[in-house]
Amino acid sequence: MGFFIETLIGGLMAGMLYSLVALGFVLIFKSSGVFNFAQGAMVLFAALAMARFSEWANAALGGNSLFLANLIAFVGAGATMWLVAWAVERFVLRKLVNQEGATLLMVTLGITYILEGVGQTIFGSEIYNIDVGMPKEPVMMFESLFEGGILINKEDFIAALIAALLVGLLTLFFQKTPVGRALRAVADDHQAALSIGIPLNRIWVIVWLVAGVVALVAGIIWGSKLGVQFSLATVALRALPVVILGGLTSVPGAIVGGLIIGVGEKLSEVYLGPMVGGGIEIWFAYVLALVVLLFRPQGLFGEKIINRV
């Protein structure tokens, strides 16, 4: 029993991180109808900026305060993502208003390569560390309840907390503030949003900025876990099935989808793995997404697709 719960918690925490990346996809898709393939590249780009800024700030401060250096780096990386958002709107989206979804998807593929290339040109292409002082050692909990207790990875736990906090803040932002309301309005109907004077251009910058900040947080968490390297860009691919499972247009869907996949991966690896020779974790999410596509193409929480005939 203790082992089952341990696996479950491990899965939930991993799932929270998937949710975070998936959220970036959903935010942009909801408000501009663009499936942003570049989300993974944005994670890499943000993490690179964070790692190098922190390194430079630390050197400039003489290595006295890692916290201050990280804070400066975070603000710097945030500003960098704002620049990215602005550039994407100004040079790409503005020219492509009212284009087909497929066209926009291809464009985000282009943005992916540009971000990866520019990122590594500016910040370098080696493996960098992000050290935000995450505790690395695992702890034992509930030893009195279960035999042998439950082993929890502190780093994962904190990361999951941060992700949950961010998700909560974003939900508040979207549901309760005037800017969030404008964003939801744009997501629902471009024409109507224009007619009441909501400037689409500015809204798109805000959305890409929010997605950029989400990418930054995801980049910091994954980066401090695995090191900042090129493979971070493929983290986004792991979030793809999450979005399909949860529904492309649903914020709660991204969260629940992430949790389901996180838990499913871990549990299936542990309990089904031995029967088929292991390695389930790698393909489980994709197969689950495929099954969902067969029965609910809009995802668990997505809007039902109804076409007027």
Binding site: L172, F173, K176, T177, P178, V179, G180, R181, A182, R184, A185, D188, D189, Q191, A192, A193, L194, S195, I196, G197, I198, P199, L200, I206
Partner: protein, 260 residues
């Protein structure tokens, strides 16, 4: 009626609009006076919606001039019409379906919100006070349109007639000078039509809003109008008081076909 019709607020002169080789509007001139209810009617494909989109700044006519409050209007972006005091409703309701009635109407206040976007985002200090003030205004509109009981309902769940009313509410929340109504009565039953007519007249009467409404046929829309423009195949074939227009041979021909 207590209201007084004022000077010309919007003057359209020799407007021609083409999409490639298709002539949507040909050499159309008419004016709209302050505080009046002005109808644009015409059969399918007459160019009514194109006309509305010209007024709204979405389409830019190749020829012709538009004078708004005495000054010639420059080419503008679609979202700028709102800030110059022109609001609109849509023929195929374009509400924000996932949002409640209240939120939908609140979006109409977007331009009236003055505090910094960042403060708004953080829901802080002056921004909060401002939001409450706007909320009060929106509640007035909700009372006015008699939709108090559905203010928290997502608009996607409402029947058609009520959705149209919310659409009107969102436009009213902008406190516009000119309100463009794109077939406000289309697809409604008799009772809903009567309600809508009453609201349009009340808006005109109580707020003094200039109203431009598009209608497909010579029905209710025309009865509540002060003056009517008739379009057919992108050309103006009639302009005047409802009764004059109704008895004009050219208008009758356009609606009933030749031979009558």
């Amino acid at each position: 009626m207590s209201r007084k019709i004022g000077d010309v607020i919007l003057d359209l002169q020799n407007i021609s609009l083409r999409f490639g080789g298709v002539k949507a509007l040909t050499d159309i001139s008419f004016d709209i006076r302050e505080h009046e209810v002005r109808a644009i009617i015409g059969p399918n494909g007459a160019g009514k919606s194109s006309m509305l989109n010209v007024i709204n700044g979405v389409y830019h006519p190749q020829e012709g001039k538009i004078f708004y409050r005495g000054a010639e209007r420059k080419k503008m972006e679609p979202h700028m019409a709102a800030s110059t005091g022109i609001a609109r409703t849509f023929q195929n309701i374009a509400l924000f379906k996932g949002m409640s009635v209240l939120d939908n109407i609140m979006t109409g206040r977007t331009l009236k919100m003055k505090s910094n976007m960042l403060l708004q985002a953080m829901w802080f200090g002056p921004a909060q006070k401002e939001e409450l003030a706007h909320r009060r205004k929106v509640e007035e509109i909700i009372d006015f349109l008699e939709i108090q009981h559905i203010r928290k309902t997502p608009v996607g769940r409402l029947p058609y007639g009520l959705q149209k009313r919310v659409d009107l509410g969102r436009a009213l929340a902008m406190e516009p000078q000119i309100l463009l109504l794109d077939e406000p009565m289309a697809g409604m039953n008799v009772e809903e039509k009567q309600d809508m007519c009453r609201f349009i007249l009340d808006v005109n009467d109580q707020f003094g809003t200039t109203i431009v409404l598009i209608e497909h046929d010579m029905g209710e829309g025309m009865d509540i109008s002060d003056r009517v423009v008739v379009l057919d195949y992108g050309k103006k074939i009639g302009d005047g008081l409802p009764d004059e227009v109704r008895s004009s041979p050219e208008v009758i021909k356009a609606y009933l076909g030749a031979g009558h």
